[in-house]
């Protein structure tokens, strides 16, 4: 068990602390003539650094990309030390930070390890092709990030002599690296004194300083950057930044912060406010009043109809996929041929199914390109609706209606279809290839699951899909696999 942390350490400070405060006064301009709203004083900064780092060294999580040479965790698996070369270390930090954006730590672990196996160094990544990078990223979402990583790696190879720069400004110039990532890399890998601001830091800082107002408004973002830059520890900036984010992720959580465990509770204005009101404070001020919650714009609703077209030649079925344009949503990824479906028009829309005609038209075009017999009216009858699923992108809630159709073709037509170029690039993925299917985006895999559910009773599969769609939209719902290990079924010895 951890020792309880004394509250109100400001009284009776040690002389060592005084020295630290003096150091802080020297190193940052505290207060000043300009806007001082919410800024920390030197004493607070020294105290905060000391407490946060001490807490972090004992409580930090053990993650594949994390290096804390000061760790006091007894159970830590020492793991490989950080790469000797700062540029190599910077690359690891970069990959982990990019993956962690908008994505849960649990999910990132496996992806990070696989990525590092595929591209151990920046030079390896710079030589990679986008197709393979996208495949490795499959399922992680926000595919733009993968493309940016690749473009960034090429930029470093071509413009920076193959070595990661160590300064925030230089890092910021790399495509895909913004202020956050640049500061994170500079502080963690190069030990530069640069603060970071992400969702976790915003939460922690706005509670510590009881900052009202929309935290994402430009003036407030600026304030958070200033706060973050002023508190970051001079000796261990990387650890301090990670400690601040870790605190936000594990203790200073959005809904039920564990203030009792918080190393910074003596400095927390939001907590003081809550305590002044009284212990049983139903309806009184709460730590969770900060940061101010801003209603997000609801996502746009969109419906598309896609066709899982299975092309069979010589007894082996293949999914026909086409490539998305190089720009925009899911740029350059593979998907089933699909068409947008207009908004639902009352009852009359039930027959024929919405968008079916357009979809048949599209399939006709694609297959015609493959010098097949025209995909005639008969083909349209072959299409069978198997259900629909929902997928939520950051700003779009997309419903996909899935049709299924299978087609027998001869070897020649199969060859053409397998690699059509031009405006509509096509690709065939064997139905039974687990690896091939795993490299596809989540949306495509959901459609495949509907297709595979065909063998079962349709109504059951539809019910399941509805459930799954819902569970997937809810990021807070954990899966049992994260808690329980896999075991073998009891088998009889043969």
């Amino acid at each position: 068990m951890r020792k309880p942390v004394a509250v109100g350490m400001a009284v009776g400070r040690s002389s060592r602390m005084d020295a630290k405060v003096a150091a802080v006064k020297k190193e940052v301009k505290v207060g000043g003539d300009f806007e001082t709203r919410g800024l920390f004083c030197a004493e607070e900064i020294a105290e905060l650094r000391h407490r946060l780092l001490a807490w972090y060294d004992v409580n930090h999580r053990i993650l594949p990309w994390r290096k804390n040479p000061h760790s006091k965790r007894s159970d830590r698996d020492a793991g490989p030390p950080p790469p000797e070369d700062k540029s190599d270390f910077a690359y690891c930090v970069w990959v982990s930070e990019v993956m962690l954006q908008q994505t849960r730590v649990e999910t990132v672990k496996a992806y990070y390890t696989r990525w590092m196996e595929a591209y151990p160094t920046l030079a390896d990544l710079a030589e990679a092709d986008l197709e393979r990078v996208n495949e490795l990223w499959a399922g992680l979402g926000y595919y733009r990030r993968a493309r940016f990583l690749l473009e960034g790696a090429r930029h470093v190879r071509d413009k920076c002599g193959g070595r990661m720069p160590g300064e925030v400004e230089e890092l910021h110039k790399i495509p895909g690296i913004g202020m956050y990532t640049a500061s994170a890399i500079a502080s963690i890998a190069f030990g530069r004194r640069a603060g970071v601001v992400d969702g976790n830091v915003i939460r922690v800082l706005s509670r510590l300083r009881a900052l009202a107002g929309d935290p994402r408004a430009p003036a407030n973002t600026k304030l958070h950057w200033r706060l973050s830059n002023s508190v970051v520890d001079a000796d261990r900036p990387g650890c301090f930044n990670q400690a601040l984010m870790e605190l936000g992720a594990t203790v200073c959580t959005p809904k039920a912060p564990k203030c009792g465990e918080c190393p910074a509770r003596a400095q927390c204005l939001a907590l003081r406010r809550q305590e002044e009101w009284g212990a049983d404070s139903e309806g009184g001020p709460s730590v969770t009043d900060f940061p101010e919650k801003v209603k997000k714009k609801p996502p746009r609703m969109e419906t598309i109809r896609c066709c899982v077209l299975v092309v069979t030649s010589e007894g082996r079925g293949h999914f026909l996929l086409i490539k998305r344009p190089d720009k925009g949503l899911l740029a350059g990824l593979w998907e089933f041929p699909n068409v947008p479906v207009g908004a639902k028009t009352e009852e009359e829309g039930s027959k024929p199914p919405r968008g079916r005609e357009e979809l048949v038209g599209l399939l006709g075009e694609i297959l015609e390109g493959g010098s097949l017999e025209a995909f005639t009216g008969k083909g349209a009858q072959k299409l069978k609706e198997v259900g629909s699923f929902e997928h939520v992108f950051s700003h779009i809630k997309q419903t996909t209606i899935v049709d299924v159709c299978s087609l027998q073709v001869d070897a020649k037509a199969f060859g053409t279809l397998s690699e059509m170029q031009g405006p509509r690039e096509t690709r065939l993925v064997p139905v039974d290839s687990k690896e091939g299917v795993a490299s596809l985006s989540t949306g495509v895999r959901k459609a495949i699951r509907l297709y595979s559910g065909l063998g079962k009773k349709a109504s059951v599969s539809r019910k399941n899909k509805k459930k799954e769609g819902k569970a997937e939209a809810d990021k807070s719902q954990r899966r049992l696999d994260q808690f329980f290990g896999k075991g073998a079924r009891v088998k009889d010895e043969e």
Partner: protein
């Protein structure tokens, strides 16, 4: 070979009713100790763990472990053909292609038998650790069912917090919030199964999806009481004991608010 005869065939119907909303197929494991099943729902959020011990059967014979993969939907259909007082016998070979179900009416004036095809199910088996629970709550199962139903009229997620004083269930929805607190009532006037008991070593709280809890309460006819076991940051277990026979247990993963990087602010 495997053969088991159950006097209260109705029990089997109730067990199936308690799982049919959650899984569509499952491997029943027949072993010398009894008949068991472990299965997760398709989204891997909840897990069912059933045990029917061999002693609970009138006759039980099982020479070796036999996995019996069955389609639950079809099994439910088939069990509909059994009368509620029927005696049920289940039989199969060591490597079964079929499982035979025999229903005998109580007065022995009607005998029906059904043969059902088995299927190979590749499901993942999870190791559920033997846990000491930080908080254990025992309450009447009907009351728990009612509570879950009432909560889900308001919201999707229920926050359960257990303290010495009692168990507080709260939820929030579009129309507002609801809180229900259940207090331990050790009053001597109550029968054992009407009491609510709370045993804790320290207060625990966590959030769960009501949709799953609601489907767990389909097991209510199996037992007058239900027991919840909680450990911080781990799945909750909801247990219905089957008298003299075993249990139906459900494990449900908690909902935990974003533990993510929170979205970098690229200013």
């Amino acid at each position: 070979m495997f053969e088991a005869r159950l006097l209260q065939g109705n029990l089997l119907k109730k067990v199936l009713d308690s799982i049919k909303d959650i899984i569509t197929e499952g491997n029943f494991d027949c072993s010398p100790n009894g008949l068991s099943l472990q299965a997760m729902d398709s989204s891997h959020v909840s897990l069912i763990d059933i045990l029917l011990e061999s002693e609970g059967f009138e006759h039980y014979r099982c020479d070796r472990n036999i996995p019996m993969g069955l389609n639950i939907t079809n099994l439910v259909k088939m069990l509909k053909c059994a009368g509620s007082d029927d005696i049920v016998t289940i039989k199969c070979e060591d490597k079964p292609d079929n499982v035979t179900f025999l229903f005998e009416s109580k007065d022995n004036d009607k005998i029906s038998d059904f043969e059902m095809k088995t299927m190979t199910i590749d499901d993942e088996h999870l190791l559920v650790p033997d846990q000491t629970y930080t908080a254990v709550v025992k309450m009447p199962s009907a009351e728990f069912q009612r509570l879950c139903r009432d909560m889900s009229a308001i919201g999707d997620t229920v926050h359960i917090s257990v303290t010495k004083e009692g168990v507080r269930f709260s939820t929030t929805g579009d129309m507002g919030t609801a809180n229900i607190t259940v207090r331990p009532n050790p009053s001597a006037d109550l029968k054992d199964e009407e009491r609510t008991e709370v045993q804790i070593t320290e207060p625990v709280s966590a959030s769960f999806a009501l949709r799953y809890l609601n489907s767990f309460t389909k097991a209510t006819p199996l037992s007058p009481t239900v027991t919840l076991g909680m450990v911080p940051n781990l799945p909750v277990v909801v247990e219905y004991k089957i008298a003299d026979m075993g249990h139906v247990r459900y494990y449900l993963a908690p909902k935990i608010e974003d533990e993510e990087n929170g979205g970098a602010i690229e200013a």
